[in-house]
Symmetry: C2
Subunit: 272 residues, 2 copies
């Protein structure tokens, strides 16, 4: 190598060094700033995403509150033969349906925009399923209200007091299911799942009792059949409340406990 | 600048030029190759994704086939008082449940791995909802089978022939709903939705007829109540078949037609 070339290489080295020691610090600052900005942007995105998930959770609770009110009004309308209240439930069902469509849309939007994973995705998946069960609780409440409209002037409607206890039991299940979802509380969810068995037993007992009434006095048959439908609706509402709790446990624990025995559910919930 | 420094800069320039003219063409080839590979990789990914979506569609149809078989066997078991067949339906329900959990898992996996959008996302969302309705058709079929087990030695079970026509009607609805999903056929889906109204009317008429039987002869009450439950299950299965069609229309047309009047549904389906 010529001396000049050696000097050139040396100069080249010093240029590189200058670049390292003089220019790079500036570049690094830029980079750090840009990293800071990108971190900030990410923080913003992450905050916005969290806010969206919180809003989604909140919307489900709003829909749950409306459904609870529909159920409570339907039972009162039936047992008090309150035609006006029954009509209010009947004409408010569209609100529950509209909320289902709205929250479903929000879930799709979150899936497209945020591409959630892990527990965020589980929340969205649970919400998609929970609102379906809430909508069906709304449907059953509307059915009970329609029954109340049919029987509001039926003197035998005193029979409807028979389902008052079952109605209260199921209302409590729906309330607790929504409460467990609000507080992400697996213990309450497990309690609701346990209650479903009791509701089913109570329902079976009411059906047997109603059949006896019909056999004793055939004039009661048309009214008693209506009570049977109401009892069936209440039993189904219990199933839907149980489903809500199963999806809540899936969200919190990441375990799909549908179609599982109570013993297995409790073991899985403890181990998660 | 010293002469030596000038030479150095010139050398530095020529090094850069050499880099531009000698090295870059090689880099470009690499880049083109890598772009080709990335295109190929993307093609592979897209092909695999399409295969996954086809497999998902296929799995739903498999679950649908099983549910159809369960429903058909339950109705035959009931009307022919075939205890063995009823037991088979009763003990096969776990297969439907297992398929629901499996397909649900597959949907979650696709959402995480593929982050689908547009019609791909609509397919996944529809599948999540359709399998829920299929599982409930399976549940209702199991309920009918349990009824068949209860009444297999009941001499009054001849009454069960009363629900044979309704049973056939509902079976056809489920079959057509699955067929419309298999062929992504909106016209068949609309036809099933229209049939649901007829099934509801037939169900109402059966209920009135059954009440008359009970009032005429109170000894028939326990058997007739069982027929009422079966009729109710069939009516619900019709609702689930209708839901499957609504989700299919959402997938194909991108329109959410739940909670919409038949007239609006037809207009939306035509305009989409």
């Amino acid at each position: 190598m010529l001396k000049c070339e050696q000097e050139c290489v040396s100069f080249l080295g010093s240029v590189q060094l200058v670049r390292i020691f003089k220019v790079q610090p500036i570049d690094l600052t830029d980079e750090l700033n840009s990293m800071e900005e990108s971190k900030e942007t990410q923080n913003h995105i992450s905050q916005r995403f969290n806010a969206e998930l919180r809003a989604l959770h909140h919307q489900v609770l709003g829909m749950g509150g409306l459904v609870e009110e529909q159920l409570s009004n339907a039972i009162v309308a039936l047992t008090n033969q309150d035609e006006q209240l029954a009509r209010r439930v009947y004409t408010s069902d569209y609100k529950v349906n509209a909320l289902e469509v709205l929250i479903d849309d929000e879930c799709t939007r979150i899936l497209v925009r945020r591409q959630p994973t892990a527990s965020d995705l589980r929340l969205v998946m649970s919400v998609i399923k929970i609102i379906n069960d809430l909508e069906r609780i709304g449907d059953e409440s509307e059915r009970i209200a329609r029954m109340a409209l049919q029987v509001h002037s039926d003197p035998k409607a005193r029979f409807f007091s028979l389902i008052q206890h079952l109605g209260g039991h199921v209302q409590q299940m729906v309330h607790d299911a929504l409460d467990s979802f609000a507080r992400l509380d697996v213990d309450t969810a497990l309690q609701v799942i346990r209650e479903d068995r009791k509701v089913n037993d109570e329902y079976e007992s009411i059906v047997r009792q109603l059949i006896t009434y019909m056999m004793e006095d055939s004039r009661t048959i048309p009214t008693v059949i209506n009570i049977l439908w109401v009892a069936r609706s209440l039993e189904r509402i219990g199933d839907h409340a149980r489903n809500v709790c199963e999806y809540l446990i899936y969200y919190v624990k990441g375990q799909d406990i549908r179609h599982t025995s109570m013993q297995n559910i409790e073991e899985q919930a403890k181990s998660g």
